[in-house]
Subunit: 87 residues, 4 copies
Amino acid sequence: MVPAVKKDATTRLKRIAGQIGGIQRMVDEDKYCIDILTQIAAVRAALDKTGMVILKSHLQNCVADAVREGKTNEAVEELDRILTKFI
Amino acid sequence: MVPAVKKDATTRLKRIAGQIGGIQRMVDEDKYCIDILTQIAAVRAALDKTGMVILKSHLQNCVADAVREGKTNEAVEELDRILTKFI
Amino acid sequence: MVPAVKKDATTRLKRIAGQIGGIQRMVDEDKYCIDILTQIAAVRAALDKTGMVILKSHLQNCVADAVREGKTNEAVEELDRILTKFI
Amino acid sequence: MVPAVKKDATTRLKRIAGQIGGIQRMVDEDKYCIDILTQIAAVRAALDKTGMVILKSHLQNCVADAVREGKTNEAVEELDRILTKFI
């Protein structure tokens, strides 16, 4: 990961950790289920965005390198397996 | 939320907070992108499961109460809005 | 399903069938992959919306009836199983 | 798309078209909502699988070509936009 991506991912994960703490407090204080679910959906979206940032960096660097080294198939198989977990 | 659900959700959120910390360390230590993405997918699945636990409790309690009080439409509109964020 | 929901679902499914036919033609005519994927994403969203229309009707009618007949748990277990397939 | 992928995608889309027809009949014959939703979830999974087949082919061919031609960034931006529609 290039420094800018690493910093972006770190900032996003720190914010997500804070959101998880907020949800823990909501559960603890018996907040309304729908409000808790709204926050869980927000973390889910934030997590997907973080995944996309890392995936984009992976495509730009690791996958591009693999293509240049004639290892396209291996890189694509790996991508296929990880994308299946998200889609 | 009944005590058993509250305890279950709390345990799940605590585990998710630990997983997020693990991902932050992986980014910090420049681990391989695909391994980081695998962990992000795992947290996403854990979050969805936590959401389902809370949703199930909401259906069994709040929605059932709303039906008994003749407020089915309001409860369904609310469910519709939250489910759209997850599906 | 009440008549209005049945009609809405039927209209949506007819449109989706047309979109699938369009994607088949795109594949047949060797259109650009990304354009085909864009259409697949559109059908997926249309399918999810159709599912939500049917789910909403199910909540307003079958689930509400189940609550009134004291069969909340059975209805919620069933909902839990189907929602897990979508989330 | 290479011939094998084209044939695979065509077969999948034909099967999906048949499944959509089946769902239309279920709605028409007032089948139980949960059974209809189960079929919709099945089509959704089949569509995602079709998308993955096309995406994999796109990565192996178009993206690999783009990298070799020094157009990695354009290819990655395009992938990023399409993946966001699926994730």
